[in-house]
């Protein structure tokens, strides 16, 4: 049993290690993470991708799960991929927009 308490900030920090290799930006600043639910040592992440049919689909979802399981205090991780609402550049952080040159207009 793991005694470390997981925080949303720690989860986000871990997810910043998952990079979309086509755009060259981490999935947090890219705005792909919609929700994080922490129940004890289980973390559930709800996320999307920039487009349906994205060839990076499994790499990114699998990478999110690995990043979560690699976090101290996490014993179980679940990733849920959703398409609604669809991703839009307005969901990116300022850091992400600045790093990638993606525009919102």
């Amino acid at each position: 049993m793991n005694s470390t308490t997981v925080t949303e900030a720690a989860v986000l920090d871990a997810l910043r290690g998952v990079i979309d290799p086509e755009i060259g930006c981490n999935i947090v600043d890219l705005g792909l993470i919609y929700d994080i639910a922490i129940i004890g040592t289980k973390v559930k992440v709800t996320m999307t991708l920039t487009t349906p049919g994205c060839p990076m689909h499994e790499s990114l979802c699998g990478g999110v799960q690995m990043a979560l399981l690699n976090l101290e205090g996490v014993d179980d991780a679940e990733v849920e991929l959703v398409w609604d609402p669809p991703w839009h550049p307005t969901m990116m952080t300022e850091v992400g927009r600045a790093a990638t040159g993606v525009r919102t207009g």
Binding site: P21, G24, G31, Q65, M66, P89
Partner: protein
């Protein structure tokens, strides 16, 4: 948490992501990366051979094209380079882009073997002008195309949401089938069937030979050069151009973070391309003055395609286009001079002389090398890094820092390849028009430089299989490590 979470997402497609760290070289939909890679590497070898061949024999482009050497080199480029890469890429892209699963990887592996034997034998026999053996190796190629088409038709049958890209791919599969049938018929028409009487007792064989003789008699009704031109258009417009148009309606929005802007406009461009090609094939074959009308239909289709592509690009969210996309979009832009040339060459009162013969050479060169080759090189800069990245790094995501796709090759070399290709294209085009061996050889030298940059970059990309660049993340649990 952040602004996006306030939108209360509705779950529409939960994805089961296992906790296993088993090494994988495939996505759920696409095949093993080694399958498309073997086609792509074969295609690249054919490209380098073809350009080397043109440097050694510039007269192939600098003189009129109805001879065995031009036909051999054309098939090396069309089957060895373009078809190899396109087939490999389609095995990877069609399942991913259309959100389905490849029907059979085993069939695809068999198809590769038939394809390799078929195109190498065909090119060799065209060079020696042994049409009987061209027919035999062409039959092997027909088996290859048959397996390819069957596999993809079964794959398309599983597509959950039919769209303009799926329609274009389905039509292109029909046209490549027709291309190979037409090519075999032309080969049959050039054979001598003096052995038929000696086969009278072997009923099955004599029936086949009798059938081939009947095909030969039918094809002999048409002008031989016109039949060859009609056959070339089936592949150039029906297979390669239609695929470029259809696939880009999916990939350009994906790479530029944009969307298809007008589905009707996109569908109209694909429909007109098909209608124009039916008419072009028949009017070219029959040397009809009406071929300009159908050329205009195809040019109209390409104009509508350009209009939609421009709208997609204007709506894009990624301000900067990477060099691979610039290759592709420049190739699409080259459709404009190619279209103009097609209208000149279909002009009803155009005299047939040495100069217009060279314009026909230029048309074929601009089509297969200018447009299709440049577009495919651009897409290779997307596909090959992805295949290598997926094969090497996919299982390390989240556990280690891995390179992005753009880190896997030299952008400087890519830029050098871009400009040397365009210069090579311009110089070779000039050499073709002027019938100058020296200028053609110089232009092909520049194309070889561009091909060399591509080769170095492909080696750089594939070197990640041997030497992965993985930096473990600092936050890694002591009990869990990145998989070997």
């Amino acid at each position: 948490m952040r602004e996006a979470s306030a939108a209360a997402p509705r779950v529409v497609q939960p994805v089961a992501v296992g906790s296993s760290t088993t090494a994988v070289l495939r996505t759920a939909n696409a095949p093993l990366v080694t399958l498309p890679l073997r086609f792509i590497v074969t295609g690249l070898l054919a490209l380098f051979t073809g350009i080397g061949w043109l440097i050694a024999r510039p007269d192939i482009l600098a003189t009129y094209h109805y001879n065995q050497y031009v036909i051999a080199v054309t098939h090396l480029f069309a089957l060895g380079w373009l078809c190899s890469v396109v087939m490999g890429a389609m095995y990877q892209l069609v399942p991913v882009a259309l959100e389905t699963r490849l029907y059979s990887e085993r069939l695809a592996k068999w198809q590769f073997a038939f394809h390799l034997v078929g195109f190498v034998g065909m090119v060799w026999m065209f060079w020696t002008w042994n049409m009987k053996q061209v027919g035999h190796f062409g039959s092997v190629m027909a088996v290859s195309v048959g397996l390819f088409v069957y596999n993809l038709v079964r794959t398309l049958a599983r597509v959950p949401k039919w769209n303009v890209t799926a329609t274009a791919i389905a039509a292109a599969l029909g046209w490549i089938t027709f291309t190979i049938v037409a090519g075999l018929a032309i080969a049959a028409s050039k054979c001598v069937y003096d052995s038929e009487t000696g086969l009278a007792t072997a009923v099955g064989v004599s029936t086949v030979v009798g059938g081939l003789r009947a095909v030969a008699r039918f094809i002999a009704r048409f002008d031989q050069i016109s039949a060859m031109h009609a056959h070339a258009h089936l592949s150039g417009v029906g297979f390669f151009t239609l695929l470029i148009v259809g696939v880009s309606y999916k990939l350009i929005p994906m790479f530029t973070l944009s969307e298809l802007q007008n589905k009707r406009r996109a569908a109209l461009s694909v429909a007109l391309l098909n209608i124009g090609l039916v008419g072009s094939f028949l009017t070219i074959l029959m040397r009809s003055p009406w071929k300009i009308a159908f050329a205009l239909v195809i040019v109209g289709a390409l104009a509508i395609y350009g209009w939609e592509l421009r709208a997609i690009l204007r709506a894009r969210k990624r301000a900067n286009l990477d060099r691979g996309l610039k290759y592709f979009l420049t190739a699409v832009g080259l459709l404009a001079p190619l279209s103009l040339l097609s209208l000149i060459l279909t002009w009803p009162s155009l005299p047939l002389n040495a100069f217009t013969g060279q314009l026909e050479n230029l048309y074929g060169f601009l089509g297969f090398i200018g447009v299709v080759t440049f577009a495919i090189i651009g897409m290779l800069y997307k596909i090959v890094p992805f295949l290598a990245w997926f094969g090497v790094y996919s299982r390390h995501v989240g556990l280690a820092k891995v390179p992005s796709l753009g880190d896997m090759y030299s952008v400087r070399l890519q830029v050098l390849g871009y400009w040397s290709f365009l210069c090579g294209l311009a110089v070779t085009s000039g050499g073709i028009v002027l019938s100058s061996n020296t200028i053609v050889r110089t232009g092909c030298g520049l194309l070889a430089l561009s091909a060399a940059t591509l080769a170095i970059n492909v080696v750089k990309i594939l070197s990640h299989f041997a030497q992965p660049r993985i930096i473990p993340l600092a936050t890694t649990k002591s009990t869990r490590t990145s998989p070997k």
